[in-house]
Symmetry: C2
Subunit: 227 residues, 2 copies
Protein backbone atom coordinates (compact mmCIF):
# COMPACT_ATOMS: atom_id res chain seq x y z
CA UNK A 1 0.00 0.00 0.00
CA UNK A 2 1.08 3.59 -0.58
CA UNK A 3 2.51 5.50 2.38
CA UNK A 4 -0.30 8.00 2.13
CA UNK A 5 -3.13 5.56 1.88
CA UNK A 6 -5.74 5.28 4.64
CA UNK A 7 -6.88 1.72 5.31
CA UNK A 8 -9.37 0.33 7.82
CA UNK A 9 -9.41 -3.37 8.64
CA UNK A 10 -12.99 -4.38 9.38
CA UNK A 11 -14.56 -7.58 10.57
CA UNK A 12 -16.50 -9.21 7.71
CA UNK A 13 -19.07 -11.99 7.41
CA UNK A 14 -19.20 -14.68 4.70
CA UNK A 15 -20.29 -11.87 2.40
CA UNK A 16 -17.13 -9.74 2.41
CA UNK A 17 -19.25 -6.60 2.05
CA UNK A 18 -21.12 -7.39 5.25
CA UNK A 19 -19.10 -5.59 7.93
CA UNK A 20 -20.64 -6.13 11.31
CA UNK A 21 -18.33 -5.33 14.24
CA UNK A 22 -19.85 -2.66 16.50
CA UNK A 23 -16.35 -1.29 17.10
CA UNK A 24 -15.56 -1.08 13.39
CA UNK A 25 -18.83 0.79 12.85
CA UNK A 26 -17.72 3.39 15.35
CA UNK A 27 -14.65 4.06 13.24
CA UNK A 28 -16.48 3.98 9.93
CA UNK A 29 -18.87 6.63 11.27
CA UNK A 30 -16.01 8.66 12.74
CA UNK A 31 -14.33 8.77 9.33
CA UNK A 32 -17.60 9.76 7.63
CA UNK A 33 -18.10 12.42 10.30
CA UNK A 34 -14.75 13.95 9.37
CA UNK A 35 -15.19 13.45 5.65
CA UNK A 36 -12.06 11.29 5.43
CA UNK A 37 -11.92 8.75 2.63
CA UNK A 38 -10.77 5.25 3.50
CA UNK A 39 -10.16 1.93 1.81
CA UNK A 40 -11.65 -0.85 3.88
CA UNK A 41 -10.27 -4.38 4.03
CA UNK A 42 -12.41 -7.37 4.95
CA UNK A 43 -10.88 -9.31 7.84
CA UNK A 44 -12.08 -12.48 9.51
CA UNK A 45 -11.75 -13.49 13.17
CA UNK A 46 -9.22 -16.18 12.36
CA UNK A 47 -6.93 -14.01 10.25
CA UNK A 48 -4.85 -12.95 13.22
CA UNK A 49 -1.64 -12.81 11.21
CA UNK A 50 -3.09 -10.23 8.80
CA UNK A 51 -3.17 -7.58 11.54
CA UNK A 52 -0.20 -8.74 13.61
CA UNK A 53 1.77 -5.75 12.27
CA UNK A 54 -0.52 -3.53 14.38
CA UNK A 55 0.36 -5.34 17.62
CA UNK A 56 -3.18 -6.57 18.17
CA UNK A 57 -5.40 -9.51 17.27
CA UNK A 58 -8.59 -7.47 17.02
CA UNK A 59 -10.09 -4.99 14.61
CA UNK A 60 -10.61 -2.11 14.00
CA UNK A 61 -7.07 -1.36 12.87
CA UNK A 62 -6.53 1.95 11.09
CA UNK A 63 -3.47 2.56 8.94
CA UNK A 64 -3.15 6.25 8.14
CA UNK A 65 -0.04 6.75 6.04
CA UNK A 66 2.76 5.78 8.40
CA UNK A 67 0.55 5.68 11.52
CA UNK A 68 -1.02 2.45 12.76
CA UNK A 69 -3.71 2.71 15.45
CA UNK A 70 -5.95 0.05 16.93
CA UNK A 71 -8.88 0.11 19.40
CA UNK A 72 -11.90 2.18 18.42
CA UNK A 73 -11.50 4.65 21.28
CA UNK A 74 -7.84 5.29 20.53
CA UNK A 75 -8.58 5.64 16.82
CA UNK A 76 -11.17 8.32 17.61
CA UNK A 77 -8.69 10.18 19.81
CA UNK A 78 -6.07 9.90 17.08
CA UNK A 79 -8.48 11.26 14.45
CA UNK A 80 -9.35 14.29 16.60
CA UNK A 81 -5.64 15.00 17.09
CA UNK A 82 -4.66 14.52 13.47
CA UNK A 83 -7.77 16.12 11.94
CA UNK A 84 -9.17 18.66 14.42
CA UNK A 85 -11.93 19.91 12.12
CA UNK A 86 -15.37 18.40 12.82
CA UNK A 87 -14.44 17.10 16.29
CA UNK A 88 -15.63 13.66 17.30
CA UNK A 89 -15.66 14.55 20.96
CA UNK A 90 -15.56 18.28 21.66
CA UNK A 91 -14.01 19.59 24.84
CA UNK A 92 -12.33 17.50 27.54
CA UNK A 93 -15.58 17.06 29.47
CA UNK A 94 -17.35 15.87 26.34
CA UNK A 95 -14.61 13.30 25.72
CA UNK A 96 -14.65 12.10 29.32
CA UNK A 97 -18.41 11.70 29.35
CA UNK A 98 -18.44 10.02 25.93
CA UNK A 99 -16.21 7.35 27.45
CA UNK A 100 -18.97 6.60 29.94
CA UNK A 101 -21.45 6.15 27.09
CA UNK A 102 -19.06 3.78 25.30
CA UNK A 103 -18.47 1.72 28.44
CA UNK A 104 -22.23 1.62 29.08
CA UNK A 105 -23.12 0.21 25.68
CA UNK A 106 -20.26 -2.31 26.02
CA UNK A 107 -21.10 -3.56 29.49
CA UNK A 108 -24.89 -3.20 29.67
CA UNK A 109 -26.24 -3.58 26.14
CA UNK A 110 -23.87 -5.47 23.84
CA UNK A 111 -23.71 -8.59 26.06
CA UNK A 112 -27.52 -8.70 26.13
CA UNK A 113 -27.68 -8.24 22.36
CA UNK A 114 -25.06 -10.93 21.81
CA UNK A 115 -27.13 -13.50 23.71
CA UNK A 116 -30.02 -12.78 21.38
CA UNK A 117 -28.17 -12.71 18.06
CA UNK A 118 -25.22 -15.07 18.54
CA UNK A 119 -26.69 -17.89 16.45
CA UNK A 120 -27.71 -15.44 13.72
CA UNK A 121 -24.15 -14.11 13.65
CA UNK A 122 -22.80 -17.64 13.42
CA UNK A 123 -25.01 -18.43 10.45
CA UNK A 124 -23.72 -15.40 8.53
CA UNK A 125 -20.03 -15.97 9.26
CA UNK A 126 -17.46 -17.16 6.80
CA UNK A 127 -17.02 -20.93 7.10
CA UNK A 128 -13.48 -20.62 8.45
CA UNK A 129 -14.69 -18.42 11.36
CA UNK A 130 -17.58 -20.53 12.56
CA UNK A 131 -15.79 -22.96 14.83
CA UNK A 132 -13.76 -20.14 16.38
CA UNK A 133 -16.86 -18.05 17.03
CA UNK A 134 -18.86 -20.94 18.48
CA UNK A 135 -16.06 -22.08 20.77
CA UNK A 136 -15.17 -18.63 22.15
CA UNK A 137 -18.75 -17.37 22.54
CA UNK A 138 -20.13 -20.55 24.07
CA UNK A 139 -17.28 -20.48 26.59
CA UNK A 140 -17.96 -16.82 27.38
CA UNK A 141 -21.75 -17.12 27.56
CA UNK A 142 -21.96 -20.51 29.23
CA UNK A 143 -24.61 -21.86 26.86
CA UNK A 144 -24.79 -23.26 23.35
CA UNK A 145 -25.68 -20.83 20.58
CA UNK A 146 -28.81 -22.89 19.93
CA UNK A 147 -29.93 -22.70 23.57
CA UNK A 148 -29.42 -18.95 23.57
CA UNK A 149 -31.39 -18.62 20.37
CA UNK A 150 -34.26 -20.74 21.65
CA UNK A 151 -34.72 -18.52 24.71
CA UNK A 152 -34.12 -15.19 23.09
CA UNK A 153 -37.70 -13.96 23.20
CA UNK A 154 -37.66 -14.28 26.97
CA UNK A 155 -34.70 -11.93 27.17
CA UNK A 156 -36.13 -9.20 24.96
CA UNK A 157 -37.97 -7.33 27.77
CA UNK A 158 -34.76 -7.07 29.86
CA UNK A 159 -32.82 -5.71 26.89
CA UNK A 160 -35.48 -3.13 26.15
CA UNK A 161 -35.59 -2.15 29.82
CA UNK A 162 -31.80 -1.76 29.89
CA UNK A 163 -32.09 0.79 27.08
CA UNK A 164 -34.10 3.11 29.33
CA UNK A 165 -31.38 5.74 29.95
CA UNK A 166 -30.87 6.04 26.20
CA UNK A 167 -34.63 6.25 25.64
CA UNK A 168 -35.02 9.01 28.23
CA UNK A 169 -32.11 10.96 26.78
CA UNK A 170 -33.42 10.73 23.22
CA UNK A 171 -36.87 11.80 24.33
CA UNK A 172 -35.27 15.11 25.39
CA UNK A 173 -32.75 15.76 22.61
CA UNK A 174 -32.21 14.47 19.04
CA UNK A 175 -28.82 12.80 19.62
CA UNK A 176 -26.92 11.29 22.52
CA UNK A 177 -24.43 14.16 22.29
CA UNK A 178 -27.21 16.78 22.05
CA UNK A 179 -28.20 18.65 18.91
CA UNK A 180 -25.79 16.83 16.57
CA UNK A 181 -24.22 13.36 16.53
CA UNK A 182 -20.77 12.83 17.99
CA UNK A 183 -18.68 9.82 18.96
CA UNK A 184 -21.08 9.02 21.83
CA UNK A 185 -23.75 8.43 19.19
CA UNK A 186 -21.43 6.33 17.07
CA UNK A 187 -20.52 4.13 20.03
CA UNK A 188 -24.20 3.41 20.62
CA UNK A 189 -25.11 3.15 16.96
CA UNK A 190 -22.37 0.59 16.32
CA UNK A 191 -24.20 -1.85 18.57
CA UNK A 192 -27.46 -1.34 16.70
CA UNK A 193 -25.75 -1.74 13.32
CA UNK A 194 -24.22 -5.01 14.51
CA UNK A 195 -27.62 -6.34 15.56
CA UNK A 196 -29.51 -4.96 12.55
CA UNK A 197 -27.07 -6.31 9.98
CA UNK A 198 -26.67 -9.76 11.51
CA UNK A 199 -30.14 -10.59 12.81
CA UNK A 200 -33.81 -10.13 12.05
CA UNK A 201 -34.81 -9.91 15.69
CA UNK A 202 -36.67 -6.64 16.33
CA UNK A 203 -34.77 -5.27 19.31
CA UNK A 204 -36.71 -2.03 19.52
CA UNK A 205 -40.34 -1.30 18.80
CA UNK A 206 -41.48 1.09 16.06
CA UNK A 207 -42.86 3.66 18.52
CA UNK A 208 -39.73 3.64 20.69
CA UNK A 209 -37.83 6.98 20.71
CA UNK A 210 -34.77 4.90 19.80
CA UNK A 211 -36.33 4.04 16.45
CA UNK A 212 -36.60 7.74 15.56
CA UNK A 213 -32.99 8.33 16.64
CA UNK A 214 -31.78 5.40 14.53
CA UNK A 215 -33.69 6.83 11.58
CA UNK A 216 -32.00 10.22 12.15
CA UNK A 217 -28.63 8.50 12.17
CA UNK A 218 -29.38 6.60 8.96
CA UNK A 219 -30.58 9.84 7.41
CA UNK A 220 -27.43 11.69 8.48
CA UNK A 221 -25.11 9.12 6.95
CA UNK A 222 -27.30 7.90 4.14
CA UNK A 223 -26.24 5.20 1.77
CA UNK A 224 -22.84 4.80 3.44
CA UNK A 225 -24.38 2.83 6.29
CA UNK A 226 -27.46 1.24 4.77
CA UNK A 227 -25.53 -1.85 3.71
CA UNK B 1 -35.78 37.57 51.79
CA UNK B 2 -33.70 40.22 50.04
CA UNK B 3 -34.04 40.50 46.27
CA UNK B 4 -30.38 39.66 45.89
CA UNK B 5 -30.34 36.69 48.16
CA UNK B 6 -29.67 33.19 46.81
CA UNK B 7 -31.73 30.46 48.48
CA UNK B 8 -31.86 26.73 47.87
CA UNK B 9 -34.76 24.66 49.19
CA UNK B 10 -33.46 21.22 50.10
CA UNK B 11 -35.14 18.06 51.29
CA UNK B 12 -34.32 17.47 54.97
CA UNK B 13 -34.67 14.56 57.38
CA UNK B 14 -35.81 14.75 61.02
CA UNK B 15 -32.46 16.38 61.67
CA UNK B 16 -32.89 19.59 59.67
CA UNK B 17 -29.18 19.59 58.87
CA UNK B 18 -29.44 16.18 57.22
CA UNK B 19 -30.12 17.01 53.57
CA UNK B 20 -30.47 13.85 51.57
CA UNK B 21 -32.11 14.33 48.17
CA UNK B 22 -29.82 13.16 45.34
CA UNK B 23 -31.18 15.98 43.17
CA UNK B 24 -30.53 18.62 45.82
CA UNK B 25 -26.96 17.33 46.16
CA UNK B 26 -26.43 17.93 42.45
CA UNK B 27 -27.31 21.57 42.96
CA UNK B 28 -25.31 21.96 46.15
CA UNK B 29 -22.23 20.65 44.33
CA UNK B 30 -22.95 22.82 41.29
CA UNK B 31 -23.00 25.92 43.52
CA UNK B 32 -19.76 24.85 45.23
CA UNK B 33 -18.23 24.21 41.81
CA UNK B 34 -18.96 27.81 40.84
CA UNK B 35 -18.03 29.26 44.22
CA UNK B 36 -21.52 30.71 44.68
CA UNK B 37 -22.71 31.22 48.25
CA UNK B 38 -26.21 30.09 49.10
CA UNK B 39 -28.56 30.02 52.05
CA UNK B 40 -30.23 26.63 52.27
CA UNK B 41 -33.70 26.05 53.65
CA UNK B 42 -34.81 22.72 55.09
CA UNK B 43 -37.96 21.47 53.39
CA UNK B 44 -39.98 18.33 54.05
CA UNK B 45 -41.92 16.20 51.58
CA UNK B 46 -45.26 17.32 52.96
CA UNK B 47 -44.53 21.06 52.88
CA UNK B 48 -45.87 21.44 49.36
CA UNK B 49 -47.23 24.93 50.02
CA UNK B 50 -43.77 26.24 50.98
CA UNK B 51 -42.54 25.88 47.39
CA UNK B 52 -45.82 26.45 45.55
CA UNK B 53 -44.50 29.89 44.50
CA UNK B 54 -42.02 28.03 42.25
CA UNK B 55 -44.77 26.19 40.38
CA UNK B 56 -43.60 22.78 41.55
CA UNK B 57 -44.11 20.37 44.43
CA UNK B 58 -40.55 19.03 44.42
CA UNK B 59 -37.15 20.31 45.44
CA UNK B 60 -34.54 21.48 44.55
CA UNK B 61 -35.90 24.99 44.09
CA UNK B 62 -33.35 27.74 43.61
CA UNK B 63 -34.23 31.38 44.18
CA UNK B 64 -31.51 33.62 42.78
CA UNK B 65 -32.53 37.22 43.37
CA UNK B 66 -35.63 37.60 41.21
CA UNK B 67 -35.17 34.28 39.36
CA UNK B 68 -36.88 31.10 40.51
CA UNK B 69 -35.74 27.82 38.94
CA UNK B 70 -36.68 24.25 39.77
CA UNK B 71 -35.48 20.82 38.55
CA UNK B 72 -31.79 20.03 39.07
CA UNK B 73 -31.03 19.86 35.35
CA UNK B 74 -32.65 23.21 34.61
CA UNK B 75 -30.93 24.79 37.60
CA UNK B 76 -27.56 23.62 36.26
CA UNK B 77 -28.35 25.06 32.82
CA UNK B 78 -29.44 28.31 34.44
CA UNK B 79 -26.23 28.53 36.49
CA UNK B 80 -24.06 28.05 33.39
CA UNK B 81 -26.00 30.80 31.60
CA UNK B 82 -25.98 33.25 34.50
CA UNK B 83 -22.44 32.47 35.72
CA UNK B 84 -20.38 31.21 32.77
CA UNK B 85 -17.10 30.95 34.70
CA UNK B 86 -16.26 27.42 35.87
CA UNK B 87 -18.73 25.71 33.52
CA UNK B 88 -20.76 22.82 34.87
CA UNK B 89 -21.10 21.24 31.47
CA UNK B 90 -18.61 22.53 28.91
CA UNK B 91 -19.51 22.55 25.23
CA UNK B 92 -22.81 21.45 23.73
CA UNK B 93 -21.62 17.85 23.29
CA UNK B 94 -20.53 17.72 26.92
CA UNK B 95 -23.95 18.94 28.03
CA UNK B 96 -25.77 16.48 25.80
CA UNK B 97 -23.73 13.55 27.00
CA UNK B 98 -24.02 14.62 30.65
CA UNK B 99 -27.77 14.29 30.24
CA UNK B 100 -27.27 10.63 29.39
CA UNK B 101 -25.26 10.14 32.59
CA UNK B 102 -28.00 11.83 34.63
CA UNK B 103 -30.72 9.70 33.06
CA UNK B 104 -28.61 6.58 33.61
CA UNK B 105 -28.17 7.12 37.34
CA UNK B 106 -31.88 7.95 37.62
CA UNK B 107 -33.21 4.95 35.72
CA UNK B 108 -30.63 2.25 36.42
CA UNK B 109 -29.10 2.99 39.83
CA UNK B 110 -31.34 5.11 42.05
CA UNK B 111 -34.32 2.72 41.86
CA UNK B 112 -32.03 -0.16 42.92
CA UNK B 113 -30.58 1.94 45.73
CA UNK B 114 -34.05 2.97 46.89
CA UNK B 115 -35.14 -0.64 47.28
CA UNK B 116 -32.16 -1.20 49.57
CA UNK B 117 -32.37 1.95 51.69
CA UNK B 118 -36.08 2.83 51.75
CA UNK B 119 -36.67 1.65 55.32
CA UNK B 120 -33.50 3.41 56.49
CA UNK B 121 -34.73 6.61 54.87
CA UNK B 122 -38.09 6.21 56.55
CA UNK B 123 -36.49 5.83 59.98
CA UNK B 124 -34.56 9.10 59.56
CA UNK B 125 -37.48 11.16 58.27
CA UNK B 126 -39.30 13.83 60.18
CA UNK B 127 -42.41 12.37 61.83
CA UNK B 128 -44.76 14.38 59.61
CA UNK B 129 -43.20 12.89 56.43
CA UNK B 130 -43.24 9.22 57.37
CA UNK B 131 -46.76 8.29 56.34
CA UNK B 132 -46.39 10.16 53.05
CA UNK B 133 -43.10 8.45 52.25
CA UNK B 134 -44.35 4.99 53.18
CA UNK B 135 -47.55 5.32 51.19
CA UNK B 136 -45.96 6.72 48.02
CA UNK B 137 -42.91 4.44 47.99
CA UNK B 138 -44.77 1.25 48.83
CA UNK B 139 -47.19 2.03 45.99
CA UNK B 140 -44.29 2.69 43.61
CA UNK B 141 -42.20 -0.30 44.66
CA UNK B 142 -45.00 -2.80 45.16
CA UNK B 143 -43.68 -4.06 48.52
CA UNK B 144 -43.65 -2.93 52.12
CA UNK B 145 -40.56 -1.07 53.28
CA UNK B 146 -39.93 -3.88 55.75
CA UNK B 147 -40.07 -6.57 53.06
CA UNK B 148 -37.65 -4.59 50.90
CA UNK B 149 -35.31 -4.18 53.85
CA UNK B 150 -35.41 -7.86 54.73
CA UNK B 151 -34.33 -8.88 51.23
CA UNK B 152 -31.84 -6.13 50.58
CA UNK B 153 -28.73 -8.30 50.82
CA UNK B 154 -29.99 -10.42 47.95
CA UNK B 155 -30.19 -7.34 45.73
CA UNK B 156 -26.70 -6.03 46.46
CA UNK B 157 -24.95 -8.07 43.71
CA UNK B 158 -27.31 -6.74 41.03
CA UNK B 159 -26.75 -3.16 42.16
CA UNK B 160 -22.99 -3.60 42.11
CA UNK B 161 -23.19 -5.20 38.66
CA UNK B 162 -25.31 -2.30 37.36
CA UNK B 163 -22.51 0.08 38.35
CA UNK B 164 -20.15 -1.59 35.86
CA UNK B 165 -20.11 1.20 33.22
CA UNK B 166 -19.20 3.70 35.93
CA UNK B 167 -16.54 1.35 37.28
CA UNK B 168 -14.98 0.86 33.84
CA UNK B 169 -14.99 4.60 33.17
CA UNK B 170 -13.37 5.43 36.51
CA UNK B 171 -10.72 2.77 35.99
CA UNK B 172 -9.60 4.81 32.96
CA UNK B 173 -9.95 8.41 34.15
CA UNK B 174 -10.26 10.15 37.55
CA UNK B 175 -13.76 11.60 37.07
CA UNK B 176 -16.85 10.78 35.02
CA UNK B 177 -16.23 13.95 33.00
CA UNK B 178 -12.53 13.18 32.56
CA UNK B 179 -9.69 14.94 34.35
CA UNK B 180 -11.88 17.16 36.53
CA UNK B 181 -15.39 16.83 37.98
CA UNK B 182 -18.34 18.36 36.17
CA UNK B 183 -22.11 18.06 36.40
CA UNK B 184 -21.96 14.45 35.19
CA UNK B 185 -20.00 13.64 38.34
CA UNK B 186 -22.44 15.56 40.54
CA UNK B 187 -25.40 13.71 39.08
CA UNK B 188 -23.77 10.40 39.99
CA UNK B 189 -22.41 11.57 43.32
CA UNK B 190 -25.81 12.81 44.44
CA UNK B 191 -27.07 9.24 44.43
CA UNK B 192 -24.16 8.06 46.55
CA UNK B 193 -24.61 10.93 49.02
CA UNK B 194 -28.26 10.02 49.38
CA UNK B 195 -27.39 6.40 50.16
CA UNK B 196 -24.38 7.22 52.36
CA UNK B 197 -26.21 9.78 54.48
CA UNK B 198 -29.39 7.79 54.96
CA UNK B 199 -28.17 4.21 55.32
CA UNK B 200 -25.33 2.14 56.70
CA UNK B 201 -25.54 -0.43 53.92
CA UNK B 202 -22.15 -0.72 52.18
CA UNK B 203 -23.16 -0.35 48.54
CA UNK B 204 -19.63 -0.48 47.17
CA UNK B 205 -16.64 -2.42 48.36
CA UNK B 206 -13.41 -0.78 49.60
CA UNK B 207 -11.35 -1.98 46.64
CA UNK B 208 -13.90 -0.85 44.05
CA UNK B 209 -12.66 1.95 41.74
CA UNK B 210 -15.85 3.77 42.74
CA UNK B 211 -14.60 4.05 46.30
CA UNK B 212 -11.49 5.90 45.13
CA UNK B 213 -13.60 8.22 42.97
CA UNK B 214 -15.94 8.97 45.88
CA UNK B 215 -12.89 9.76 48.01
CA UNK B 216 -11.63 12.14 45.30
CA UNK B 217 -15.00 13.85 45.27
CA UNK B 218 -15.06 14.19 49.06
CA UNK B 219 -11.51 15.54 48.92
CA UNK B 220 -12.43 18.06 46.21
CA UNK B 221 -15.35 19.46 48.17
CA UNK B 222 -14.09 18.84 51.66
CA UNK B 223 -16.08 19.73 54.74
CA UNK B 224 -18.97 21.14 52.67
CA UNK B 225 -20.22 17.66 51.84
CA UNK B 226 -19.03 15.53 54.76
CA UNK B 227 -22.20 16.17 56.73
Amino acid sequence: MSMNERVLYELAAADPQLRFSPYCWRVRLALLHKGLAVRTVAWRFTEKEMIAFAGTDKVPVLVDGSRVVHDSWRIAEYLDEAYPAAPLFGDAAARGTARFVARWIESEIQPRMLRMIALDIHSRLDARDRDYFRRTREARLGETLEALHASRETRLPALRAALEPLRRTLAEQPFVAGAAPRFADYAVFGAFQWARLMSEVPLIEPDDPLTAWRARMLETFGASIQA
